[in-house]
Amino acid sequence: MIASVNDNNHSDDGKPHHGVSTRAVEFAVAVFTFILGIVVIVDSRRVGAGWAEDGPQAGYFPYYIGIILCIASVWTIWRALFSAKDVAGVFVSHKKFRLVLSVFIPSMIYVVATYFIGIYVASALFIGAFMYWHGRFAWTRIIPISVIVPVVMFLLFEVWFLVPLPKGPLETLIGY
């Protein structure tokens, strides 16, 4: 169902747009919330959605939440497929989506890297890489900024507020 809108589809101003259609995303998200609703219903049935001797069971409230979520999702699916006028356009063009991914994928790598090298080193690398790829800055500007920000963070959290953040080999080396 995640169909690409190709050259056959032109927007009103006649310019061709490449990208995923809003209708497809609307449909997919509503199906996703529907599935979540089913999960909630099934799990509530598992723990008991009825009435025990001492009162309502654990699934009593979530059960209805799940049902309402499913109904609302079906409503949105129905609108996405048949009635809504606002789903005709392009949800996100390929070009814009690439921009979004160019932020999101590095962020993912950053989070994973934090597990291994600690948040401070990872932040320095992340900020540096981001400035290099998106801003095309010179190294003379990248290096100071990407070093100063984590150092300030380190002082703020580890030294002043005494809130420990994930640390890696470098911090161990300097005794933290």
Binding site: V25, A30, G37, L69, R79, V103, F104, T114, I127, H134
Partner: protein
């Protein structure tokens, strides 16, 4: 005048050297958050909340609420100078604020915006001072069914008054409730929806959701827009401020209307954003210069700003008195109360007098301090926005990651933050409202327990929700709110006499 002596007591709490410092820090951080894309009142407070765990609750709430006031002020700066609303509630301010700035009247527009924000907030705080104790006293009579009815009213108002399609509002809300129910059920000790994993035992923390939905989601959206901040330079000097202040009293009616709309929308959780749009729309209809709106009319700045700030402020009234926040930021503050070990609700006014009145007094002081700070420091904030987005964006993502980590000292939360970021991006693009999701996540446990207790009282009979006049009228009001769009449509049709069925919405 019991309130008055309580308020004076509050001032003595708020006016310590330490609390004034926290106030100042809060306002500065708040304006910064309001100016930066990707950081706003809700996630800004969420990120800073863990740092306040060791502070005294009064100082903590003073600082965090001042962040909120600062963010409300800050949103206007980006709207007027850059035509980029820093916060959703300042979208309506761009309509006339930015044209004014382009015409060389930036100082005038900013002064008008800040001053009317201040006026809106001040009136809302005065209202809180005198109304909150009454509401609290009244709601002491509430039992579980009444509390559930009030919560029902809150959520029904979202469906009826919100801008989004009802199906999406309901879906977002139910998603919040579903996420809130994950983890250990404290009543029965049953594990719900953990699927055998230990990590989900704790459930989903709403702070993580707020940071992801509003922070990461916003960054992804901003990135898509392709950022080029082209701003207007502004300097505010005392003579501009004075000149603007001299012409503001003329527009007292617009300001008053804006404030009333704001107070109403803040208490019933319509929120600051719809309040600002509604106020702008009404001002446009009633103003003599209505047709010139959008070209740089000072009234077009006053109307949305008074409403937004009044709504943002009065959103704290239901939070303090009933434990039901009127906005996402108020929801985060409510979460803070719970973490600091305070039970929000009517008893707060009895048991934690110093806390409540210290907070209310700090609202007066915070807004005065805020007005002075923003009037004097505008050029700095404008300079911050000229820092390229490719430097600001990674730093904001890093701050969000740290904020998410410090909530529970868990890396899994940082991963969840990214997931919520995607949800935030998709939901915002598809016009799913995020506020009901966050509110449901925060209130989920409370709503569930009052529902359960009501059911226990009635042995499973739903009729308990209209068993007496009080609970019945709250539920009735809730139903009216739920079907508000249908009601207004019907009324309009009755008045017009003719019918156009085309845009009638199907309602379950």
């Amino acid at each position: 005048m019991e309130e008055f002596s309580n308020l004076m007591q509050g001032f003595s709490v708020a006016l310590t050297y330490q609390n004034l410092l926290f106030m100042l820090v809060g306002i500065l951080l708040g304006v910064l958050i309001g100016v930066l894309p990707g950081l706003g009142g809700a996630n800004g407070v969420a990120i800073l909340l863990p740092l306040t765990f060791t502070m005294s609750p009064t100082s903590a709430i003073i600082m965090l609420s001042c962040i909120y006031w600062g963010a409300l002020f800050g949103g206007a700066i980006t709207s007027i100078l850059f035509n980029i609303p820093g916060e959703p509630w300042s979208v309506a301010t761009t309509f006339d604020g930015h044209p004014m700035a382009k015409a060389g009247r930036a100082g005038e527009a900013l002064t008008a915006a800040f001053t009317s924000s201040f006026v809106g907030a001040l009136i809302a705080v005065i209202m809180i001072t005198f109304l909150a104790p009454l509401v609290a006293k009244f709601s002491l009579k509430f039992g579980p069914p009444e509390f559930f009815a009030v919560q029902l009213l809150t959520f029904c108002s979202f469906v009826g008054l919100g801008k989004g399609h009802p199906a999406k509002t309901i879906a977002a809300m139910m998603l919040g409730f579903a996420l809130a129910s994950v983890g250990l059920d404290t009543v029965t000790g049953t594990l719900r929806m953990t699927f055998g994993t230990g990590e989900l035992l704790r459930g989903f923390n709403f702070l993580i959701a707020v940071i992801g939905l509003f922070g990461i989601g916003e960054i992804l959206l901003t990135m898509e827009e392709g950022l080029a901040f082209k701003g207007v330079h502004a300097r505010i000097n005392p003579s501009v401020v004075w000149q603007t202040w001299k012409q503001l009293p003329k527009y007292w009616m617009t300001a008053l209307r804006g404030t009333l709309i704001g107070c109403w929308m803040g208490i019933t959780p319509g929120g600051a954003t719809p309040a600002s749009f509604m106020s702008y729309g009404i001002a446009k209809r009633f103003s003599k210069n209505g047709e010139k709106f959008g070209t740089g009319e000072i009234e077009g700045v006053i109307a949305p700003e008074t409403a937004a700030h009044a709504a943002g402020t009065s959103a704290l009234l239901p939070m303090l008195t009933l434990g039901i926040p009127g906005s996402p930021t108020a929801a985060v503050l409510l979460g803070g109360l719970l973490i600091w070990g305070l039970q929000p609700g009517p008893l707060l006014f009895v048991e934690q007098k110093d806390f409540v009145w210290g907070l209310i007094a700090s609202m007066y002081l915070g807004n005065i301090v805020g007005l002075i700070i923003v009037l004097t420091t505008v050029p700095w904030w404008a300079a911050i926005l000229r820092v390229p987005f490719s430097i600001i964006a990674p730093i904001i993502i890093v701050i969000c990651a740290i904020g998410a980590y410090t909530v529970n000292n868990a890396m899994l939360d940082v991963v969840l933050m990214l997931v919520f970021g995607i949800v935030g991006y998709l939901f915002k693009k598809l016009d799913y409202p995020l506020a009901p999701l966050v509110l449901a996540l925060v209130l989920g446990d409370m709503a569930e327990s009052s529902f359960r207790q009501s059911m226990l009282m009635s042995r499973g009979e739903v009729s308990i929700f209209w068993s007496n006049g009080l609970v019945g009228s709250i539920c009735g009001l809730a139903m009216l709110m739920l079907f508000w769009p249908v009601v207004t449509k019907l009324l309009a049709r009755l008045r017009r006499g003719n019918n156009d069925l085309d845009d009638a919405r199907p309602v379950e």
